[in-house]
């Protein structure tokens, strides 16, 4: 209670200062009057009494000051005074204040935005208990270029049983066979939804240590029973799907239609629960077809393992490598992992990776690059502001010296300068935070899936601390810079110099140095941005192997449960036929995997009269493409040799296939591929048995897994010939209409065939392309924005320094003009100064760029970090900017009227 009273009193002295002061005044006056009356009572004349009283009392203001001291708020009062003074003086120069606050806000905002991403994506621990123990296992087969692959089912079960290092090992799959997409159809009420799904086993949830919020999790029995033709009809919903699609109604124990089959909902996950940033909405029991479950070559399971307490990453990796050595012998199989060194082509090893690294993947480098770029921008901002503050300090020199002369200590002056800095950087910081939160939100909206873990991004405590740190740093910088190296000893000279106040060589060199640094950083940023822009340009110009103009695509899935391969094929055929008859549609086709960004299949395919390098009669083919209709014609894929599929093939008995150039070259080398035969496994597309297919044509390579990656081997099979179809297909239409104009028609056509099937990802092929290069595009856009900002700031810096120099040398220039110097000479001389500073900055910046651009080499495509065209362009741009920035002050100098200048002095 007393502490509260005290606080109230302190606050009163602080905030209601005027009231407290007038009370103090009144109290003293009362005392004085009493004294005077006493003196009069003892017989003094009134004015004599008054004088005597004043003498007795002594210095009134001194007492009052002591009384104020007793209230012990001087420190705070000074601060309040400083803040008031700062706001008054800043309000008097709104231009200066505005420039400082806005540049600071941009600098701090850019850094906070990128740091929010850096922290949220790269630094923040995963939201599982003891996340550092979680590991992701991959199969590495460097000999055939397969890295970070999933594991096969036998490998997974053997590993789980044999390992000593892990407390729990679990597996998930987002598909399990070649044609699943990690999505399922869910019927909520009467609305068909396409939602993201994952298939997990009971061990996985044990490894991740997550518990359903309601109901139960799958048990071992339900997730390891790989028999029958379909997985057990049970499911767990994400909290989010339960909330949005089912309105939180009690659902555990009830049935929900998933992929056309009623599933019992056994549980609801807690909010935010997910695996591998999959944005999972429906959790299904892990299930594999019994054939797949036995194949060592079918790498379909993603494995996550939790280290036992006290076991290190290194120890676990050592154990893993050691038992890979004789794994095959232990489980009595061959062709699994190497039993004899050296590696054979199909052999592989298992590799551990921290789960977080596996989730973040290759997003880490671009984010660090962006953070570095944002840091550069902040350095440029600070250099610019330091320059501004130095200039302002020059003109305020007299004020400071005068105050020092009147008894202000250096510490007091510094405190005032820092307060000024704090007010400005505080404003800049708050504005910057606002910019950052708006920017991050806009970024996530514009690029929803380009960066992992973005659904959890928020401006949280660590981010706020960094914002606070940046603002404080800027405030201190201001304080010290604006006070500079001023010494009280130079007081007299400073007062004599008056407003002209040449601020001395130190300031001059400091300012030039700051501009050089700005230009250098700007050069580095602009080169980085230039390289990235060129990368994006190169990516957009890649020939993906087909004609993507006027191509509209969408995807649909016919539920596996209530359809068999033949009826599915008929349904798709009906959809294609009806769409072909829509006016404006020139051709339609369907395919299982949509280029240029699909997952590889890697299917072992027996080939007639063929022996691979390691002595096997089959080859692993990277992509199987199951197509319907006039695929090559509709997609505009050129046929290099032989012919494409034709309608007459549909009825013929001999099954036919088309291969891409890479496959033809890899397998048949110099031989003619036409007429060769291979045997694709029928299970991969719904056919009942494996039949020999004759190659009838070779087509141009199509980029499948990212436009920047070279094409793999690809085999085309015509589903029309087999009259079967996998559940999910991508439809393409060559049309003159935009997707929006077609959406109504497409939905009507699809729903006529099956009303429970949603039309998803309807867009034109250009958007598919744009999406496949969205990350380099995002990087290029952000770096470009930073580089533009850097250029602008460097230009302002150059302009500022030259203008200041011109102002300082007005007198000299005036005299020279009066003595007959040519105006053009004055102009070139000033401009030369600007160009000199820029040239030094460019030189240093180029050196810096050569030093650090190696770091972004892996982010570039089709352009070298030392690309001469880019560098020449950057130098030209910076020089042009510098010329513009120097020209204005130089021109002003050359127009100086000597009469006016000399009279002014």
């Amino acid at each position: 209670m007393r502490a509260l009273d005290k606080a109230r009193l302190r606050l009163r002295s602080l905030l209601r200062r005027r009231e407290v002061e007038s009370e103090l005044e009144a109290e003293f006056r009362f005392h004085l009057e009493q004294l005077v009356e006493e003196h009069i009572a003892s017989g003094m004349a009134p004015d004599e009494a008054h004088r005597s009283a004043l003498r007795t009392v002594g210095g009134i203001s001194q007492f009052q000051e002591e009384c104020r001291d007793m209230r012990r708020v001087n420190f705070l009062e000074d601060l309040v005074q400083d803040v008031r003074y700062t706001i008054r003086s800043l309000a008097k120069s709104p231009g200066f204040t505005g420039v400082v606050a806005v540049t600071l806000a941009l600098g701090i905002g850019a850094n906070i935005a990128i740091f929010t991403i850096l922290h949220g994506v790269l630094l923040r621990p995963l939201e599982y208990p003891k996340p550092d123990q979680l590991m992701y296992l991959t199969a590495e087969s460097p000999a055939i270029g397969g890295t970070r692959n999933a594991l096969s089912a036998p490998e997974y079960t053997e590993f789980r049983q044999m390992n000593q290092s892990f407390a729990a090992v679990g597996a998930y799959s987002t598909g399990g066979a070649a044609y699943t997409t990690g999505e399922v159809n869910v019927t909520a009420g009467d609305r068909p939804l396409r939602v993201r799904s994952i298939s997990v086993d009971a061990h996985l949830l044990k490894a991740l240590s997550i518990q359903p919020e309601q109901g139960r999790f799958f048990n071992d029995e339900e997730t390891a029973r790989w028999t029958g033709t379909l997985p057990p009809p049970i499911a767990i919903l994400s909290h989010e799907l339960w909330r949005t699609a089912f309105g939180r109604r009690p659902l555990v124990g009830q049935k929900v239609e998933i992929e056309g089959r009623p599933h019992e909902i056994v549980g609801i996950m807690p909010p935010g629960a997910d695996v591998m940033d999959n944005h999972t909405e429906v959790w299904l029991p892990l299930w594999l077809h019994s054939n797949t479950a036995l194949q060592r070559g079918a790498h379909v399971l993603h494995v996550i393992a939790r280290l036992k307490d006290g076991v290190t990453f290194e120890a676990a990796q050592t154990e893993l490598s050691a038992f890979v050595e004789d794994w095959g012998e232990r489980v009595g199989t061959k062709g699994h992992v190497p039993t004899n060194r050296p590696l054979r082509a199909v052999d592989h090893t298992l590799q551990l990776r921290a789960l977080k690294d596996a989730i973040v993947g290759n997003a880490s480098r671009p984010i660090w690059v962006l953070q570095a770029a944002a840091g550069f921008v902040l350095l440029i901002v600070c250099a610019n502001l330091a320059n501004l503050v130095i200039a302002r300090a020059g003109s305020r020199r007299r004020e400071f010296v005068l105050r020092a002369a009147l008894g202000a200590s250096r510490g007091r002056l510094l405190r005032q300068s820092v307060t000024e800095g704090a007010v400005m950087s505080g404003a800049g910081g708050i504005l910057g935070l606002w910019l950052a939160s708006a920017g991050v939100r806009a970024l996530i909206r514009a690029y929803p899936a380009s960066v992992p873990r973005t659904s959890e991004l928020t401006i949280d405590l660590p981010v706020l601390l960094v914002a606070l740190g940046l603002s404080t740093g800027a405030a201190l910088l201001f304080g010290f810079v604006s006070l500079g190296r001023r010494r009280t000893s130079s007081m007299v000279t400073a007062l004599k110099e008056g407003t002209r106040g040449a601020s001395g060589a130190w300031h001059h060199y400091a300012r030039r140095g700051l501009v050089i640094a700005q230009v250098a950083f700007a050069v580095m940023l602009v080169i980085g941005a230039g390289l990235l822009v060129q990368t994006v340009y190169n990516l957009t110009r890649i020939d993906a192997g087909f004609d993507r103009s006027r191509l509209v695509t969408f995807s649909m899935t016919l539920p596996m449960a209530n359809s068999d391969p033949d009826t599915r094929a008929q349904a798709y055929q009906r959809v294609l036929d009806r769409l072909r008859s829509v006016p404006g549609v020139l051709g339609t086709a369907a395919m299982s995997g949509l280029p240029p960004n699909r997952t590889p299949d890697a299917i072992a395919t027996p080939i007639e009269n063929y022996v691979s390098d390691d002595g096997r009669p089959f080859e692993i083919i990277d992509y199987y493409q199951f197509v319907m209709g006039d695929y090559f014609g509709t997609m505009g894929i050129p046929i290099v040799a032989g012919r494409g599929f034709e309608r007459t093939d549909n009825a013929s008995q001999g099954k036919v296939a088309v291969v891409n150039e890479t496959l033809a070259k890899r397998i048949w080398k110099e031989q003619n591929p036409i007429g060769q035969r291979l045997r694709p496994p029928g299970g991969s597309f719904g056919a009942s048995d494996d039949v020999l297919h004759t190659v009838i044509g070779v087509v141009k390579d199509v980029r499948q897994r990212g436009v920047e990656r070279p094409a793999g081997t690809e085999l085309y099979v015509s589903l029309d010939q087999h009259s079967v179809s996998p559940p999910s297909m991508n439809v393409v239409m060559r049309t003159t209409l935009p997707p929006a104009a077609l959406s109504g028609t497409i939905e009507r056509v699809v729903w006529e065939v099956d009303a429970a099937v949603p039309v998803v990802r309807l867009r034109d092929m250009d958007s598919v392309f744009a999406e496949s290069i969205r990350r380099p595009r995002l990087l290029a856009q952000l770096l470009g924005a930073f580089a533009g900002l850097a250029l602008l700031l460097a230009a302002i810096g150059t302009y500022g320094v030259l203008s200041y120099m011109v102002t300082e040398r007005r007198r000299e220039i005036g005299i020279r003009v009066a003595l007959g110097a040519a105006r053009s000479h004055v102009l070139t001389q000033i401009m030369k100064q600007g160009i000199q500073v820029t040239a030094m900055g460019v030189t240093i910046g180029l050196a810096g760029a050569f030093a650090v651009n190696r770091l972004i080499a892996s982010l570039l495509f089709g352009v070298q970090p030392t690309d001469t065209v880019t560098i020449a362009f950057v130098i030209a741009t910076i020089t042009a900017v510098a010329v513009v920035a120097s020209w204005l002050p130089a021109w002003r100098a050359s127009r100086l009227d000597p009469n006016v200048v000399l009279r002014d002095e």
Partner: protein, 109 residues
Amino acid sequence: MAKPTDLIQGTLDLLILKTISLEPKHGWAIAKRIQQVSREALQVQQGSLYPALHRLEQQGWIKAAWHLAETGRMAKFYSLTSAGRKQLDKELASWTRLSAAINLVIREA
């Protein structure tokens, strides 16, 4: 007027608290009262009195209010708070102990 005895450090607080313990008084009256009761032996200088009053107020031992004084003018009257009353008891006790001890030393030594 004889030079007033310098007050022992800290005793001014005690004197002020004691003086206003019966009824609220303004600064002038406090000084006069101390002077009278001590038979002019203790003169409280304004320069010490008012800072002391403000300090005591900040510490929450006394509180101030504006009232009409005998002379018909508004004056700032100080009175004890309950915390101040406790503080007075404490200071009185320690003063009694201290003065008794000093007396002992003076007489016996």
